[in-house]
Symmetry: C2
Subunit: 347 residues, 2 copies
């Protein structure tokens, strides 16, 4: 494709707007702002008046925290690799219901804002609190629910206690745009994107686990064993070069990224032609503690023709990407090993 | 891609030569000669001297049938859709070993030659015969076998009794080329391509089932339940239009082909977006009794953005294409429902 015709985003759905990062944009350590994937369940909500967040529930003193207050508080910057839980749904058989995400519901973004824990300290969390519920301004009807459903997602209290979970005001150094959750959204390192609630209006301390629609009916692993809310990003790797369909020499330099919500990347291996001869890649320095790790390996191929490149990552918890995930009805968490087919030509 | 740059074949392996039919070539009822897929296990054998076929084994009188004799016998023309058993191997997870065939190890070809049964009548088959073994001129080493392995494949005697199994001398009205099995190859309607043995040198009537390498170690379904030789083509359909990635109107006309080695096509249905709302397609006239059936359907799409088109065929035996096949170690017979992702734009 002519570079001039590469779109900023690959549209998955126009209304509500959902779009992927193009593969070219995922070559960069930090995804350029215009290329960051967009996931919306109900479209961009219209917000009027000065924005503020109501912090309430199991707290010592309920508060309304204005945007001005947030701006006046200490600002932190955290870079995270963020993947939509439905990324790579198109790679699952049978095809699950849901948006047909291919490979690009994935971006690495630098967030700037206030640590959620700083806000929680302002209000004083009661010992009885177990979860923090983030409620968004976007809402709408759903086929499988009554009335209007509002986007809301909870986090275990423990996951809100590190400074790096932010109420973000900026993305890659610029104010958040409406599509990305302006004026304020959550950014949760290590979790699939649904946890990073956009257009936050309420922060509620709960004394029992949240049971709402997006916690129990969507963004859940609906498998034979039962229903479990989706949480951290499963260990995964992608090959960024060579591109699918590329013509390559017999010495193929394969590069890519690997990440996990369960710890740092311990190992990446690459295989040619579907065999079990996995060759170790060299790991680079992670883009941040919560972002992907670059890797590369040079492989000698012994024949000309089409070959299949595959990569698999192992994280610090010892988990390795599987060949194929256990299928789940809603098509989440597909970290199965991908295939990149290229053509080898000796020159 | 500029039409001028579309290759005649998509190379899978240069040595031995294996190559797919390009998707554009599969738009046509009959695959143009230069675009017919090529599958070779050991490369094209060198044949010297006047070619002849030795017919022997459980027969009344063994014979050597020369090419001149074959040319002098009654000629029949049969059009078949022929698919490599490994076609769509790339769609399987985990990726099985074997050539990385994508969608194009598939062609529809018109064969002209002598009915195998006419040759069998010349020699007189003994009542004790149960299979007919076809041996080819190509041979070579294999990693998992000792010495030199020759390509050979057997058919149950019953499957050789219909006039439409040919010792073919011509393809699409032209003499066979070396890559396609010149001077004489078998053409078995309804079976995966491995049965259509190329460069035939021997026809042997067997009194016990053949147990050779390509019957028991390759071209077998190696599954949890055991090992079974691959035989007839599983019911399958492909979407030929729109092409993957095409931008389409809200009224999408979907067309394609369907075929089965187990009978005629009874029904084709198309679904949008992975749902279970299958819409019936209109079937056209099959290209031949042994070739694919054209189908088409017009579908109204209610939204803009990326949609997933899927088609599934049902044959006269009542079998419908599955969402995904039972995985087998060598990656054969993948007739799982395919996905074609297109972009809807209202105009």
């Amino acid at each position: 494709m002519n570079p001039a015709t590469v779109p900023l985003l690959e549209v998955v759905r126009h209304e509500p707007f959902n779009a992927e990062s193009p593969s070219g944009a995922l070559q960069h350590p930090l995804t350029p702002l215009a290329n960051v994937y967009v996931r919306t369940n109900f479209g961009v909500p219209e917000l009027s008046g000065p924005h503020a967040i109501r912090v309430h529930g199991a707290v010592h003193r309920e508060m309304t925290v204005s945007l001005d207050t947030l701006r006046a508080m200490p600002q932190h910057t955290v870079t995270t690799t963020m993947e939509c839980a439905g990324n790579d749904r198109l790679g699952m058989r049978p095809l699950p219901v849901g948006e047909p995400w291919h490979h690009g519901a994935l971006s690495t973004v630098s967030w700037t804002g206030v640590s959620l824990v700083d806000v929680l300290e302002l209000v004083g969390v009661l010992p009885s609190a177990v979860e923090v519920l983030l409620t968004a301004a976007d809402a709408g009807p759903r086929d499988d629910a009554e009335g209007t459903v509002r986007f809301a997602r909870s986090l275990p209290l423990a996951d809100t206690q590190r400074r790096d979970t932010l109420l973000a005001l900026e993305m890659n150094g610029a104010p958040l745009t409406p599509a990305h959750g302006a004026p304020v959204r959550l950014a949760v390192p290590g979790w699939y994107g649904m946890a990073s609630v956009k257009w936050v209006t309420h922060v509620e301390l709960l004394q029992t686990p949240y049971e709402g629609y997006f916690q129990r009916q969507r963004y859940v692993y609906d498998e034979a064993g039962g229903i479990t809310p989706v949480d951290r990003m499963r260990v995964k790797s992608i090959i960024t070069s060579p591109a699918a369909g590329a013509r390559v020499d017999r010495t193929v330099i394969v590069t890519g990224w690997a990440w996990s919500g369960f710890g740092s990347i311990r190992r990446v291996e690459v295989s040619v032609d579907g065999g079990d001869d996995w060759q170790p890649a060299v790991l680079g320095k992670p883009v941040s503690a919560y972002a992907w790790t670059p890797w590369s390996v040079s492989i000698e191929v012994v024949r000309n023709g089409r070959i299949v490149l595959r990569s698999r990552a192992t994280d610090a918890s010892g988990v390795t990407q599987p060949d194929a995930i256990v299928w789940n009805r809603l098509g989440y968490g597909n970290n199965g090993i991908r295939q990149v087919v290229v053509e080898v030509e000796s020159r």
